[in-house]
Amino acid sequence: MEPLSWTAIIGLIIAQLIPVWIGMLVVFTLSVLFKRSLGLFGKPFDSTIGMIGFALVLFWVFTGMFADMIITHDPLAQVSGMKNKLPGTPLPDGYEGYAYYLLGGDNLARDVFSRMVAGSTIVMQIAPLATLFAFMVGITLGLPAAYYGGKLDTLLSFLANLILAFPVILLFYLLVTPEIVQTGLPTYMAAVLFIFPIIFFVVLWNARFFTQPGKRAAYLGVTLVIGIWIYLGVAWNADPLGIISVPSNILIVFVSVVFVNSPTVFRIVRGLGLDIKTRDYVAAAQTRGEGPWYTMLWEILPNARGPLIVDFCLRIGYTTILLGTLGFFGLGLAPESPDWGTTINDGRRLLSIYPHPAIAPALALMSLVLGLNLLADGLREESLKD
């Protein structure tokens, strides 16, 4: 068979991505129809840049979700004779399955297109969740630091600066070395970091329903049961039901990323908190006799949501870059893993002769981060307007 032309390659890739197009079409139609009633979520649809950003992000979200339907080959399978083949090369005669390597083969004769698509699943699984955890940690520590000030603030700020002063790559190298994993340090860090979401929600419901014991008990009960169940499974790999378990190398990557991100979130929340706590409505809540945690979580936090959501978008992009860095340096993730950092590093060695295996994941990573940054820009511009 003849190798495909570039037009044919692009056509086949678009055909392969049909589930993504359908998903994007549905979301866009619904969002444009109901954008007035969506609040902040509808905001990016008013600016072209925000819309482009949203489309890019949505594209990768759906690609990650439907990866199993999109990939043309097993991302780990090697087909002999396909090593470093250019995009559009047909597979050798007699091979069952999809007839082409759409974006060529890498230096181990694996399909570049399938690996890139499978890589998006890894990013989509880790990056948003890790950012969310970092926000929980940052908010739970940042609000009291801003509200109480004094010694607590000094101590927490010192610790945050300490982590920020740490060179990220050195920290990653130290955390993922097998010797340190052996000592259990990453597990202990996971145990500490993952308890913050539980604390956050417990305090949140407790402050809200303090005067309604029935409702409070219900909310707290549900939060604690689900929270502790997930906590045991994720942090200690000791889920009593045996449903939740996280591979240990993914956990280490997750912990490192949360650990590096949370001090920055802490500083942002602290800064916002220091500003907002001087406002009149906070004084009003204090005069009403509301407790400190109610004031923090139900008066200060909702009024800081604009900048926090914008930063959340930016930070998912930053987390994606960090994940890529980890993969690029071969830290944590398995060497044959299809994540973008690892594939870029694999392709780097033969870059000046066969650039295609490295270019595909590089462009993928860039477009996702660009999308998140554009979305954040759109959100910021629109939230400044009101």
Partner: protein
């Protein structure tokens, strides 16, 4: 003045704490075992590892070893059965009788790398100088370009020029070095595209910087930082332009 002194104190404290964290992470039990097997031989038994650690001063508590490394506590010494004295500050050039009591970072003795077989100070100095040269050129390219970009974009907020320059700066902050590096090499240095304007590796830049071997590394690092500075400049520029 008090503020400056206090900041300086916090800085030193942060540095000490950071050094301690790195020191204790690298000096954990399994890491020491790895060092012993690397220095001795890979098939050492547990007893041999333990005795090697004792002979080389690694069996002391972590805090003591950190203090020795800093140079505030006297270095360890070890006398074997034959009465031969070894110690932290004792080496082939410095016999036991003349060896100083303390030798650490504060005394200017930063140790010897077992991997490079070289003085740590020399290793750091060499790389610092090379990094410094790279950073000098990065700054020289990045700052003026970012200022021009941000300045032009901020002159008329919302204009076409502002839109396109802002998008470029967002794109540059969205491209980490390992992505832009790959793209730049593929475009400007690979046989596939065929431009081959620059070299894809900067190894030869250690001996002499040329336009050919230094453009791509400088461009890669400058790109990532440029967008950020340009956005900051744009923000201050629009503020000045809208001021009454």
């Amino acid at each position: 003045m008090v503020f400056l002194l206090r900041r300086f104190g916090v800085m030193i404290l942060t540095g000490l704490a950071l050094a301690m964290v790195v020191f204790s992470l690298t000096n954990l039990e399994p890491n020491l075992e790895k060092v012993a097997k690397f220095e001795g031989n890979a098939r050492m038994t547990d007893e041999e590892v333990a005795s090697w650690l004792v002979k080389n001063g690694y069996s002391q508590p972590m805090s003591k070893r950190y203090a020795e490394w800093l140079g505030v506590a006297p270095g360890w010494t070890y006398t074997d059965e034959d009465g031969k004295v070894t110690g932290r500050c004792i080496s082939r050039d410095v016999p036991a009788e003349e060896a100083p009591a303390r030798c650490g970072v504060l005394q200017g003795d930063w140790g010897v790398s077992t991997i490079f077989k070289e003085d740590v100070r020399g290793i750091i100095a060499k790389r610092l100088w090379l990094t410094g040269k790279l950073m000098f050129w990065v700054m020289l390219v990045m700052v003026p370009m970012a200022l021009v970009m941000g300045g032009l974009a901020g002159m008329r907020e919302g204009s076409k020029l502002d839109r396109s320059l802002s998008t470029v700066s967002i794109a540059s902050t969205a491209t980490p070095e390992y992505v832009s590096g790959v793209i730049l090499i593929a475009v400007f240095a690979s046989a596939a595209v065929g431009l081959k304007w620059f070299k894809g590796t900067a190894t030869s830049a250690m001996d002499g910087i040329t336009f050919e071997n230094f453009t791509l590394p400088v461009a890669t690092i400058a790109l990532y930082g440029m967008g950020y500075i340009a956005r900051m400049t744009r923000a201050s520029m629009t503020e000045v332009m809208t001021a009454q």
